[in-house]
């Protein structure tokens, strides 16, 4: 039996990986100024979000979340439960780490919504753009998340900035998908009605399609938050401070208890964020959250 029938022949192997490495390294050298600018602005914005969160006294934040939980679910005990969860995080000495984690999550969710919402609308309206972007989204979603970390580090070194970039790339996908899905699945007759009464494309979009798609779009925001929440923990590997970092450090020292506490905190925050945003989605009169309530 010939050798090349058993093993893949060496001569046919090539490696585009190294080419990509070289290209990215080169890119980071030649575009140092732009990258530096991005890095500074990302750090500034995350820092200011963090400062904003830190200004709020811990008890006030707990109260706000309790109140929101009560209003959204309609049950007092749900609000109380959220309060207890947050209190647990504080009493575990992880309050500041939680705020750090939240800052990155919030920043990346804002970025995801700002970029993903218009992109989703573009995909819904333009078939060609949809054909190009959709496979890229599939790729972004199936690619193991660690793969994003490396280029982010090469471009921005370690810290908040690559963490934000990696988190956003990972979390923006559902925002784009669900926005586009929501706009596409507005009842045909309703869209026809908008056009038949003489709406311009923009009027039909703003006055009819987006408001009608809002529950789906909000589901996209909810998904984006959850994805960002899970990615931000992984980002501890590239130097993002916060709860993830606590877990990473404890894991390296094989301290089970120390790793478990921030783990539980992450679960709590995820539950609270999920339920609060879900509440907006499920609310049947979602429109009244955004418009004046009908007079009765």
């Amino acid at each position: 039996m010939k050798e090349y029938l058993l093993n893949f022949p060496d001569a046919w192997q090539f490696n585009i990986g190294t080419a990509i490495d070289d290209w990215i390294k080169n890119f980071s050298r030649t575009h140092r100024e732009i990258l530096g600018f991005i890095k500074r602005s990302v750090i500034t914005s995350i820092k200011s979000i963090n400062e904003l969160l830190s200004i709020i006294p811990w008890w006030l934040l707990i109260l706000i979340v309790m109140l929101l939980g009560w209003r959204v679910s309609g049950k007092k005990r749900v609000g109380l439960l959220y309060g207890v969860m947050l209190f647990f995080i504080g009493s575990s000495g992880l309050w500041d780490h939680m705020l750090e984690t939240l800052s990155i999550v919030i920043a990346s969710v804002i970025l995801s919504v700002l970029l993903g919402f218009p992109l989703g609308i573009l995909l819904a309206l333009n078939k060609r753009a949809d054909g190009i972007v959709r496979p890229i989204l599939d790729l972004m979603q199936t690619m193991p998340t660690f793969v994003y970390l490396v280029p982010a580090v090469i471009l921005f070194s370690v810290g908040m900035t690559p963490a934000l970039m990696a988190t956003t790339i990972y979390a923006i996908v559902p925002m784009i998908r669900l926005t586009s899905h929501g706009i596409n699945h507005v009842d045909t007759e309703v869209v026809e009605a908008a056009i038949a009464f003489g709406s311009t494309t923009l009027q039909s979009l703003v006055k009819v399609q987006i408001p009608q798609a809002l529950p789906t779009i909000m589901a996209g925001v909810n998904q984006t938050i959850m994805m960002a929440m899970s990615m931000v923990v992984t980002c501890a590997l590239i130097g993002a401070n916060g709860l993830g970092m606590e877990i990473l450090v404890a894991t390296n020292r094989t301290e089970m208890g120390k790793a478990l506490m921030p783990g539980i905190c992450i679960v709590f925050i995820a539950i609270i964020l999920d339920r609060l945003t879900q509440g907006f989605v499920d609310n049947k009169e979602y429109n009244t959250f955004f418009r004046r309530r009908p007079m009765r």
Binding site: E192, A196, F197, M295
Partner: protein, 391 residues
């Protein structure tokens, strides 16, 4: 009523698919729709349709689903673009309109009412009705004033700020109608507007449309699959089949001289249903009693429903008779069991009994008629008042 032409359609053809030229050739050689689809993959939605709509008339287009009637109505306001042929609105070729002219045309001249209402669930009744005015930037005060007038005209005053989800089907379509009228268009396009409504509400709406038409003298192009509706409303009726128009005429001429066997069958089907049967007018029985119930329960039941007779059915809903409140009270006071006082002598009819036959029955009946199915199960009741109201 002036007799000038508002819309003229000339040789409109609409094809869906890629291989259009081959399909056109096949159609010209006399192939039918199905053959063309099998050979070329092209769907022929409309083929060489021509007609004129006069000002102030109701032009009804009737056909089964897939006959092209929804396609053609969407050509009038350019939701669809015909593959070939021309549509003239007051002498202007609507395909030559510029973008702005198309918007103005849709805003001022032609409005549409949809089968499933096409209402915007995130807006309340008033904001739906004023949508057309809002997109052409009529100031809020003025458009709400106009919106209220329209809402009053369709009989929904007081519901201006209700969400759409709180309305019944008939009310929703009234909103649809008010929205279309708010722009004061010359032409109303109505795409099976009453098909999604139940028969009683449909008749109300047909009446409403005729009375509004009497007041405003709009030109209406009305799509339906119900020949009764077409004959009742249409000044002119066009029958479509497989994308072609088979006959255009007044209802009288059409029933006197149907163009072919297909039209004749269509009209025959009308004659059978033109007279309503019991199932169309019956209402669910308000008060049901089981023979094993104790009398005081029957009395309570009647009291709660504010009626003086209850219908007695067994476990399988089979009809046994009625019990009056007097008898039920007697049963309670004398400790008699309910079944002994049931009056089985009630006029009954079945679901398909025609209204004509019910009239005589209802006239002599003391209680509302019980409508039974073949297994004697109670399906509904018909009071004297409902029979008379249906005429």
């Amino acid at each position: 009523m002036s007799k000038d032409t508002v819309i003229r359609v000339e040789h409109i053809t609409k094809l869906y698919g890629k291989n259009k030229s081959e399909a056109i050739q096949l159609m010209k050689n006399g192939a039918d729709k199905d053959t063309v689809y099998k050979r070329t993959g092209v769907t022929v939605a409309l083929w060489d349709v021509s007609f004129e709509v006069k000002r102030g008339e109701i032009f009804a287009i009737i056909g089964l689903s897939g006959s092209g009637k929804s396609t053609i109505i969407r050509c009038f306001n350019l939701l669809n673009k015909p593959t070939s042929g021309k549509i003239f609105f007051e002498g202007n070729d609507i395909e030559k309109f510029s973008k702005q002219e198309v918007l103005n045309y849709r805003r001022d001249r032609i409005a549409m009412v949809f089968q499933n209402f096409g209402l915007m669930s995130h807006r309340n009744v008033l904001d739906n009705v004023t949508y057309g005015l809002e997109v052409k930037k009529v100031p809020r005060e003025e458009r709400e004033q106009r919106g209220r007038e329209m809402i009053e005209m369709v009989g929904l005053e007081g519901l201006e700020h209700q969400p759409i989800s709180s309305l019944s089907g008939g009310m929703k379509q009234r909103v649809g109608l008010a929205r279309a009228l708010a722009n004061d268009p010359g032409v109303l396009l109505m795409d099976e507007p009453f098909s999604a409504l139940d028969p009683l509400v449909r008749r109300d709406m047909q009446f409403e449309l005729l009375s509004i038409q009497g007041k405003l003298e709009k030109t209406v192009i009305f799509i339906t699959h119900d020949i009764n509706e077409a004959f009742k409303l249409g000044d002119t009726v066009a029958i479509m089949r497989d994308g072609k128009i088979i006959q255009i005429d007044t209802p009288e001429n059409m029933s006197a001289k149907p163009a072919d066997e297909y039209v004749r069958q269509f009209i025959d089907s009308a004659d059978k249903t033109q007279v309503l049967s019991a199932k169309h007018v019956m209402v669910p029985p308000t008060c049901l009693v089981k023979p094993k119930d104790i009398p005081s329960q029957a009395i309570r039941e009647m009291g709660a429903n504010d009626v003086s007779t209850a219908y007695v059915v067994d476990d399988k809903m089979r009809f046994m008779g009625i019990i009056t409140i007097d008898n039920a009270i007697r049963a309670r006071n004398n400790g008699l069991p309910l079944p002994s006082l049931i009056d089985p002598d009630v006029h009954t009819c079945n679901e398909d009994t025609l209204i004509n036959d019910i009239i005589s029955l209802a006239a002599e009946a003391k209680y509302p008629l019980a409508v039974l199915d073949k297994e004697n199960k109670l399906k509904g009741i018909i009071s004297k008042a409902t029979v008379l109201a249906s005429l």
